[in-house]
Amino acid sequence: MKVLNRIGAYVLFMKRVFSKPERKRVYTKELVNELEKLGLNSVVLVMIISFFIGAVLTLQTAYNMSSPFLPRYLIGYLTRETMLLEFSSTIVSLILAGKIGSNIASEIGSMKITEQIEALETMGVNSASYLVAPKIVAALVINPVLYVFSVFIGIIGGLLTGLASGVVNYDDYIHGLHFAFNPYYVTYSIIKTLFFAVVFTSIPAFYGYNVRGGALEVGKASTKAVVDSSIAILVLNLVLTNILL
């Protein structure tokens, strides 16, 4: 019952978030800020993680290929497939749910307990829409970009590590990257990133917006937000994979 209540409250909250904005100019300014906050500030993290995961995938694949009959280009192929299908969409979104999600929940939660949200309401601003809609739109724009970026960096990480360690040569790796490439996988993954973007921004925003109490409750809301948005991403991943593949 409690879960149903929470889902109902979330749906009503989202209805408020996507109601017609009063002053579009103010929202546009916020959107630019959010693109910087959510996107640019996450690029370095995504780059580092993707590079090292790509590198490790290459090494692990190479060390598990004990049979001499397995072609070496499979290293490039498996690195590409893993990055393309799962890591750069789902795992990067899970990481962003931790980084961005906790940030959003604590930011909006702090605004709630310090009456900043009430101040917005007294000025006639739909606070839910003003605070949350730009974050969701910014994440919808930036998450597919981060996905493409992550795939690219991951593959480069794999190539450089493969060459440095000598487990694969350049031609084999590049051949593996081209081997049996299905462009639909990119479409499928980008669709997933769009859904995940809504999840890792709206669920933390919902928890932050409904904080009651003080700093302790903001911390609890932040933790709950990360846990619930991570679970929602995993469940959605399963559902979308079933539908789209």
């Binding site: 009063e22 103010v26 900043q116 101040a119 006639g124 601003v125």
Partner: protein, 254 residues
């Protein structure tokens, strides 16, 4: 003028306000006083429209706001300024951007005019050279003054302050009280201040409404307070020896 009639408000079966009638006059500092938990903040937030009342009516100059939809209420919102207990300044904005914020929402001024108006208001609350600072970089008293500047930037007809002196030293409290009183008379605003600061009651309370256990127990001015025989009010105001002495001295003199 703001008039409330028969206001009742409850939260989850707990009655917080019962049948409150009051008139808040323009050009005067109207105080709502009462113990913590007496319902004064709920009353103030109900008048502002942050709480929906269970029954009763709230009139802003004969405009009944209790039945208004969001669009109708928006016109009223342009006419009111609110100073929250902690200032409620937006952390992500500078002091100047905080003061400009209502102008971005409601005015058609150019950017230059907005900056000029915001600087004028900051200057009016005696704040200079702080416009580029963030709220985290200024003191509690300065935050309250920035909040007042933001509240008056649209030249409101109604000004609401929720415990503007909380957390401030006596000297800064006095500065804030005097500032609110001056601005009320200067702009002929209907100012409603929610407080339990005794200095505010005695210094600037031109009209005082005392809320006790969710009901209006007493109303009068800061002079009437000194002669009141209401037991609950006297217990609230004159529990401290200092306040009792002040009343005795005042009564002897008059």
């Amino acid at each position: 003028m703001i008039r409330v009639e028969g206001i009742c408000k409850s939260f989850e079966h707990k009655q917080v306000l019962t049948d409150i009638d009051a008139v808040f006059e323009p050009g005067k500092v109207n105080l709502i006083i009462g113990k913590s938990g007496s319902g004064k903040t709920v009353l103030l937030k109900s008048i502002i429209g942050l709480h929906t009342v269970d029954s009763g009516h709230i009139y802003y100059d004969d405009r009944d706001v209790t039945g208004m939809d969001k669009r109708q209420m928006k016109d009223i919102r342009k006419e009111l300024g609110v100073v929250f207990q902690g200032g409620a300044l937006f952390d992500s904005l500078t002091v100047l951007e905080n003061v400009i914020f209502p102008l971005n929402l409601f005015s058609s001024m150019s950017e230059k005019e907005k900056v000029e108006r915001a600087l004028f208001c900051l200057n009016r609350v005696n704040l200079n050279n702080v416009e580029s600072l963030s709220p985290a970089e200024i003191s509690g008293g300065m935050k309250k003054r920035v909040a007042i500047a933001r509240a008056i930037v649209l030249q409101p007809k109604y000004l609401f302050c929720d415990e503007p002196n909380s957390g401030l030293d006596p000297l800064t409290s006095l500065v804030i009280d005097n500032l609110l009183s001056e601005l009320t008379h200067e702009y002929n605003m209907t100012t409603i201040i929610n407080t339990h600061d005794m200095n505010s009651v005695f210094e600037i309370g031109e009209k005082i409404i005392f809320i006790h256990e969710g009901r209006k127990e007493w109303e009068g001015s800061n002079v009437d307070v000194m002669h009141s025989d209401n037991a609950a009010l006297n217990e609230f105001l004159f529990t401290s020896k200092l306040n009792r002495m002040a009343r005795e001295r005042f009564n002897k003199r008059s």
